[in-house]
């Protein structure tokens, strides 16, 4: 931690010695004391009612959600070990044991060099990675960005946009975040885990990440934000964040000057959510369109 003593003196303190700067000092003192009128109680009431609304909360986006996810993964891990141990006891042939051994090893991060287990390990290696990175790691290769990228504008967190081809699916634009400076492509290129015995993805969390990515892109690249909202609409047509998804899509359309589409969608949106958290911004945006 940096020593606070190294901070320079505040401008107000240094100006006290300069008589010629009396006006600046006076203005700064006033500004320091001035506070904008804001009713915290009214704002908090609105905030809590927004949180209470079903559309706003990603279940996995809360601390409680993450904690529940950890418990679930822990229970699954124990169950997996138990089942694998039972399989071992039931199978005397060493060749037949290989997949089960690999499964345990990958979950517990134990390396096994059994050729017969390679295919299982590659899948379970991904599972182990997910367990280690909960709640931040992207669990779906085609999904997007953790909220970590927001937390530090100048940090080492990096975003990259990758186009990935899913087997049996279309190419999707995915933004992959790497908060620890590792290779983002390795996550994006990993095969989708196919094991059905372990949870590999939380749809609500993935949806929240997509919407969050759209929100962040809105300023710098509204076209990309719009694409992300459309991607979210395809992947989560009945997701919990429909309101946010549609709202940010409309704001992106406004920013792109796509007036007709924006007005059409906004009409439906405002009819459905006249007092939504984004409604006022949408109204203001529409009212100022040419």
């Amino acid at each position: 931690m940096t020593d606070f003593d190294h901070d320079p003196p505040r401008l107000l303190e240094s100006l006290t010695a300069e008589r010629s700067k009396a006006s600046l000092r006076h203005d700064l003192e006033l500004a320091r004391r001035a506070r904008v009128d804001y009713s915290v109680d009214a704002g908090l009431s609105r905030f809590e009612s927004t949180l209470a609304g079903a559309s706003t909360l990603p279940a996995g986006g809360t601390v409680a959600g993450f904690a529940a996810l950890r418990w679930f993964l822990g229970a699954t891990l124990l169950l997996g070990i138990g089942v694998s141990a039972w399989l071992l006891s039931q199978q005397p042939d060493p060749q037949a044991r290989a997949p089960a051994i690999a499964s345990i090893g990958s979950i517990g991060s134990i390396a096994r060099a059994d050729d017969a287990a390679q295919s299982v390990r590659s899948e379970d290696g991904k599972v182990a990675e997910i367990v280690a990175s909960v709640p931040r790691g992207p669990s779906d290769p085609s999904s997007v960005v953790s909220s970590e990228s927001e937390s530090s504008p100048g940090s080492t967190a990096r975003e990259s946009v990758a186009e990935t081809k899913q087997p049996g699916g279309t190419g999707k634009v995915g933004v992959v975040l790497n908060s620890d400076g590792g290779e983002p492509a390795s996550v994006a290129a990993s095969p989708r885990p196919t094991s059905k015995s372990l949870p590999t993805s939380d749809p609500a969390l993935d949806e929240a990440k997509l919407i969050d990515a759209a929100r962040k892109r809105l300023a710098e690249d509204p076209a990309a934000a719009l694409a992300l909202t459309e991607q979210a609409a395809k992947r989560f047509p009945k997701g919990a964040m429909v309101q946010e998804r549609r709202g940010y899509a409309i704001l992106a359309l406004i920013a792109l000057d796509r007036v007709d589409e924006a007005e059409q969608r906004a009409s439906e949106y405002l009819e459905r959510w006249p007092k939504g958290p984004l409604s006022r911004r949408i109204r203001e945006g529409l009212s100022l369109l040419p």
Partner: protein
């Protein structure tokens, strides 16, 4: 050196209760107008909620952490409007003068606040935010650096430049105010 306190979690609702005033003030100083202030305050805390709240570990403070979110939220709002040509960049002085005037404040005080706001508006957003947090909100450079995820040296550097620009802008604004006054005085003296 004092021992670091144990990490403490703040959920979004408690953050709102304690720091909504700070966020509203910070957004206002970043140039957010009164019509969208409440919406953007809400959005800042929604983002904080989606991030799972704030864990105070002795480095960043809740205020500097929320300030970083506020900058992003304000930036999105500003750029969206600019892109759609809804609200072209106005002259900073005009922008400051168009703000709500609290009738309880004297005209002189209001002019002083407008001068400060106009000088702030002349800074680029990164420097402006650091200047506001350090000079007006009393945050430490280390807390700002931790909140923004940048080296503390960068904070010093931006602060230094921000101060220089702020002083220059303030002087310029004062000079601009004095000039028309002199003309007015001359006009009243001359028949």
């Amino acid at each position: 050196m004092l021992e670091a306190p144990p990490p403490r979690h703040h959920d979004a609702a408690s953050l709102f209760r304690q720091h909504a005033g700070f966020v509203a003030n910070f957004l206002h100083r970043l140039g957010v107008g009164p019509t969208e202030l409440d919406d953007l305050v809400q959005e800042v805390f929604l983002v904080s909620h989606r991030r799972g709240g704030f864990v105070e570990d002795g480095r960043a403070r809740p205020t500097t952490w929320l300030a970083e979110i506020s900058i992003r939220v304000a930036s999105v709002s500003r750029r969206s409007r600019r892109r759609s040509r809804e609200q072209p960049d106005q002259d900073t002085v005009l922008d400051a003068q168009s703000r709500e005037i609290d009738p309880s404040r004297s005209l002189e005080n209001q002019q002083a606040l407008d001068r400060v706001q106009a000088a702030l508006d002349s800074l680029d957003p990164e420097r402006r935010a650091i200047f506001i947090l350090f000079e007006l909100e009393g945050e430490s450079c280390a807390a700002i650096a931790a909140g923004f995820g940048i080296p503390v040296g960068t904070v010093y550097s931006r602060l230094h430049k921000a101060r220089k620009q702020f002083k220059e802008a303030h002087t310029r604004l004062q000079d601009r105010e004095r000039k028309p006054l002199r003309r007015t005085e001359r006009a009243t003296v001359m028949p």
